[in-house]
Symmetry: C2
Subunit: 397 residues, 2 copies
């Protein structure tokens, strides 16, 4: 592997925890976090949330007739910060900065790109995140909801975004795009609001999980529930289930990787670090690295939010009906599926099944694989590889 | 899927926790657990264990000149119980009963098949397991060792087996075979005692892990270490880190599976069980199933033993030298590698790398893949698929 690539990986490593960052242009794309609120939001299960607040941000200018909107939906541990910086001095950019910006695949000189935090966003304590979930104060009781907060699903995420768009008087989406759980939201948009959505770009996503993946999400959740401090979700103002969260997040972090990157990053360690052979208390560098990454994420996360978001990811099926087939039926958007070849968390078969079912129903669907050493994370880290494909998909009918 | 196969999967499910069982013959192969002890066992790291006790069992008869011995080494969560029953009324057989027995691939009418529990066997509280590790009483202090027990590696496991063979005056092995961590022991045998080992059958094994797999083992260990009851390994006579063990074992259990089996087993559940959509306290049947399986295993396991065994699996490199190449060099045995096509825990690349390196050194090595819906577990559940290959390998030179 060439030295420059090694250096790139090194840099990447240090920017991993908060966001994958690149400094592609000399004048940074600046954005600011805004708040959107809606009262008495009704969930798809029929529950009322007295007040929903979510954060959002945008890049580019909304056209006079509001027909140039591209919505970006974020991944499981992501936020609305898809591109640019909040301040020129920020050390990292939004996670898809390599394809969103002036002259980039998603060209902010042409499009008004909008992105919002989901409900039950895991990064509840991140000062740049605005979300509503179990850790939020219930205005009726003035205490955190805890697990009295209603379960929400991906359709609910979409419906909050829909309300945000309504508040901006936006009636059509030139495209909806996102990686991983963002892809899932993009697909759900096309199923739920078919006449509003012209294009879907679903990167490392799925129409429905297999049982193996559901079981993995269940394990992430179990590690939290097994921490006595979780206390059935009632830990606000008490000791939080930090250890359970770290155990959970270690699994989440590892699942997103592929061996090739880890091998490259830690191979010297494998040959020189003999400490794991000397004491059960000693660890490998890779062990230490995962512990640090998980601990840093645990600090800004809320345990109940992780459980709620995991459940939403686990139970998602496009359209939320009786079958994937049924959920695909209403779709009018042309769709681009971009799975990652080495994705072990959401293996290729998931996107292939979705592609096959969409084709069978005569939908306009294209399929492109991202190659790369990162696995699931290639949907973020290596997305620029598909810049031309994405640009072409967005700019043609 | 045909109904009979469905029924087979159903039966398999219920026999999963303790062992995969089959009742292939009408008169059961009976065996009994025996104890082997060695004083002042020296580990490869130079430490002395005052007394090592391990359990072993055998099937078939030792020939007069003791040249018909086949040694079976067990997998991570396994025991010496590779075949047969301890009592005619036992409801399950040893894990490889489909290939070990009279007239089977490993024919107990011809061979004396021997199998032993490893050091630091995880099933410390299983009444049929005899092992020595952190939970054992240190004869010098009359208290459990805890983490004062020296770290042991796969070479140490092999050396204990070597001492057992010496006690029986056995000087050559017609073959050494095993699945997963058993494969690893078989390979280590051929590297450590090349003149003793004529054949190696390494099923779903590896010569050395990749960083992704090491990280997975680290996560299993971390879930235990993050349980405050672990208390740096000092929990004997106090509350044990049961929750950490369950969290760890859920990961271990899932990692051994492939989606196809789980999908078949739980697919009806996916369509009918709506409870996970109603409360964060509700679970999927698959979630419940993993929790039950992990809890049952936690009851007979010792947390420190899990940590010690994970470390041995994680740090293994054939020959325990500076490279896999170096460890392969001394091997004289002809070797059969049998990875499983759908193995996600130890992916095919591991066996392919090993095959390639052995070929490059001019070793006699063959490669055969097991197909199946179980993933890593196909090395146990579907092993009979390779009966002819194994029989031929054993009975020719």
């Amino acid at each position: 592997m060439p030295k420059t690539y090694k250096f790139f990986l090194f840099i990447l490593f240090f920017s991993f925890v908060s966001a994958f960052s690149y400094s592609a242009s000399s004048s940074p794309l600046l954005t600011k976090k805004q708040r959107f609120s809606v009262d008495n939001f009704q969930t798809t299960s029929g529950k009322i949330i007295p007040r929903v607040d979510i954060g959002w941000e945008s890049y580019g200018e909304l056209s006079a007739n509001k027909d140039n909107v591209i919505l970006i939906a974020h991944y499981y541990s992501g936020t609305s910060h898809a591109a640019g910086k909040y301040n020129a001095t920020d050390t990292s950019n939004g996670y898809w900065d390599s394809i969103i910006g002036p002259g980039k695949a998603i060209d902010t000189n042409k499009y008004f790109v909008l992105s919002s935090d989901t409900l039950v966003n895991v990064n509840f304590k991140d000062p740049n995140v605005i979300t509503t979930g179990p850790a939020s104060i219930n205005p009726l009781t003035r205490k955190p909801y805890g697990i009295s907060f209603p379960l929400v699903n991906v359709r609910d995420f979409v419906n909050v975004q829909h309300a945000l768009l309504e508040s901006l008087d936006i009636k059509t989406l030139h495209a909806v795009a996102g990686p991983s759980m963002g892809a899932v939201q993009a697909l759900e948009w096309a199923s739920a609001y078919p006449s509003m959505v012209e294009r879907v770009i679903a990167v490392v996503g799925y129409g429905e999980l297999g049982m193996f993946q559901k079981a993995a999400f269940s394990n992430w959740a179990a590690s939290i529930k097994l921490d006595p401090n979780w206390n059935d979700g009632d830990y606000y103002g008490k000791a939080e289930p930090i250890n359970g969260m770290i155990s959970s997040l270690r699994q989440t972090i590892l699942a997103a990787y592929y061996n090739d990157f880890l091998q490259e990053r830690f191979e010297d360690d494998a040959n020189t670090n003999t400490s794991p052979k000397n004491s059960i208390l000693a660890d490998y560098t890779i062990d230490h690295w995962m512990q640090d990454a998980a601990s840093a994420r645990a600090k800004i996360s809320d345990a109940n939010h992780i459980l709620y978001l995991s459940r939403a990811a686990e139970t998602f099926r496009i359209g939320h009906g009786n079958s994937m087939r049924e959920g695909i039926a209403p779709i009018q958007a042309k769709t681009l599926l971009i799975p990652a070849t080495n994705d072990q968390l959401l293996p290729l078969t998931l996107s292939k099944n979705l592609y096959k079912e969409m084709k069978a129903q005569g939908k306009r669907v294209a399929y492109e694989e991202i190659e790369g050493p990162f696995g699931h994370l290639d949907g973020i880290v290596s997305i620029a590889q598909k810049s031309d494909v994405i640009k072409d998909f967005i700019e043609t009918n």
